[in-house]
């Protein structure tokens, strides 16, 4: 498992952060997603052999938010 921080755009309230975190239920290989509306970012723990960054970014897009940059 590795841990990465991503900037997320389009969150309007803490409930948006909850929706971003819901990708941990959707994709295999994701350990934990911790999104913050206040910081406008998400911290993801994931297994690179099971899920790619592109798949994660797409999953976040599906729930309505844009992963703008990777820190």
């Amino acid at each position: 498992m590795i841990k990465k921080i991503y900037r997320v755009e389009g969150m309007h309230c803490p409930n948006c952060a909850m929706r971003v975190e819901s990708i941990e239920d959707e994709l295999p290989g994701i350990g934990r997603v911790s999104a913050s509306y206040q910081k406008g970012q998400m911290v993801v723990e994931f297994d690179e052999t099971k899920v790619s960054e592109a798949e994660m970014i797409e999953a976040v897009k599906k729930v309505g938010y844009i992963v703008k940059s990777v820190d």
């Binding site: 803490p14 409930n15 909850m18 239920d25």
Partner: protein, 347 residues
């Protein structure tokens, strides 16, 4: 405690309590609904179907009121049990009102998207709670209305405070809980109807609606800060600034009677006269008169003297005012800072 007292508590809530509480606690409910509306408006704007879904207002209002009902029932339990704690001190309530006002103004600025710093004004529930909520109920935000409903316990309106005093007087945890339950249940229909129809009407404003809600939250926040300033006896409160400007031309101003007493009427819509004149360097008695008064003007506060009295619905309560130097302006207010007035000490 008899059934009559419970029915009276319920009817008091249903009539004066609901509107009085809405005026004081409506801001917290508006903040709660604002969150729900933000989600709904955003969700429908991203929907490819193109149909606007009606915001789910009934559920958050119901959750808010349920949390409020539970919180006040528990409060009634403790009040009846302790039997000694009367009300929050005026100073603490003033600080709470200002703090809640700043919280609301910050939230309004966040909704206007003025600067990301205002995102810190929103209450982010702990991660273990959001995780639990997400897994049990997807897409529904239960936390905010529940949390804010519980918070109303910190800003009881005048009528609620009166009922809290009655709960204290029961001297029984169960009786206190049942009394507060009956009263808060009584306030709920008016609270629900006022909140629901206000928000439904606002929905028609379509794309401007979020800004409309932000403006409402902003105004309620400023009102809350102003009430806190009033309660603290600050000259910066709007009413006090206004009173200074019209001080000399006040028609309803009153002077002491021959026996050195001043009379102030606490009425349902405020204090009359709002300005009293008294001689300097002489102690006097202020008789506060109520006559079928049910509003929060019954919770009478003189911040400078740390006087905090719950007036009877009908009666006269004398308050001793020590001698004051010439030029002193002594503020008085209801415990929520909604109604105010002052005593001016002259030669």
């Amino acid at each position: 405690m008899g059934m009559e007292q419970l029915i009276l508590a319920f009817v008091t809530g249903l009539t004066t309590g609901g509107l009085s509480c809405m005026a004081v606690q409506g801001g917290l409910l508006a903040s709660s609904l604002a969150r729900q509306l933000e989600q709904d408006v955003f969700r429908s704007s991203e929907s490819k179907i193109g149909k606007r879904m009606p915001p789910q207002l009934a559920l958050p209002i119901a959750l808010f009121l349920l949390a409020k009902l539970a919180a006040y029932t528990i409060l009634g339990f403790f009040l009846g049990w302790l039997g000694s704690l009367l009300t929050l001190s005026a100073n603490l309530q003033a600080i709470l009102l200002v703090a809640i006002g700043i919280f609301m103004v910050g939230n309004a600025l966040r909704m206007f998207n003025i600067h990301p710093i205002f995102r810190y004004f929103v209450v982010e529930p702990p991660k273990f709670i959001t995780r639990a909520i997400r897994r049990t109920s997807k897409n529904t935000d239960f936390f905010t209305p529940l949390f804010l409903g519980v918070l109303t316990v910190l800003i009881p309106c005048g009528v609620t405070q009166a009922m809290m005093a009655v709960a204290l007087g029961t001297g029984s945890a169960v009786a206190g809980a049942v009394l507060m339950f009956a009263f808060t249940l009584g306030t709920s229909p008016v609270f629900f109807a006022a909140a629901y129809f206000t928000m439904q009407l606002g929905r028609r404003l379509e794309k401007w609606f979020m800004r409309f809600v932000a403006v409402v939250v902003l105004v309620l926040g400023l009102v809350s800060i102003n009430s806190g300033l009033n309660l603290a006896g600050s000259r910066l409160a709007i009413q006090n600034l206004f009173q200074v400007a019209q001080a000399e031309s006040e028609l309803g101003a009153a002077y002491p009677a021959n026996d050195g007493t001043l009379t102030l009427r606490a009425e349902n819509n405020g204090y009359s006269p709002s300005q009293l004149y008294a001689p300097a360097d002489t102690s006097l008695t202020l008789n506060v008169v109520t006559s079928e008064t049910y509003s929060c003007s019954r919770a009478f506060v003189i911040p400078a003297l740390r006087v905090q009295v719950l007036l009877p619905e009908t009666g006269v309560v004398p308050i001793e005012i020590p001698a004051q130097p010439a030029g002193t302006v002594m503020q008085f207010t209801c415990s929520m800072g909604m109604y105010t007035g002052e005593i001016v000490f002259g030669q």
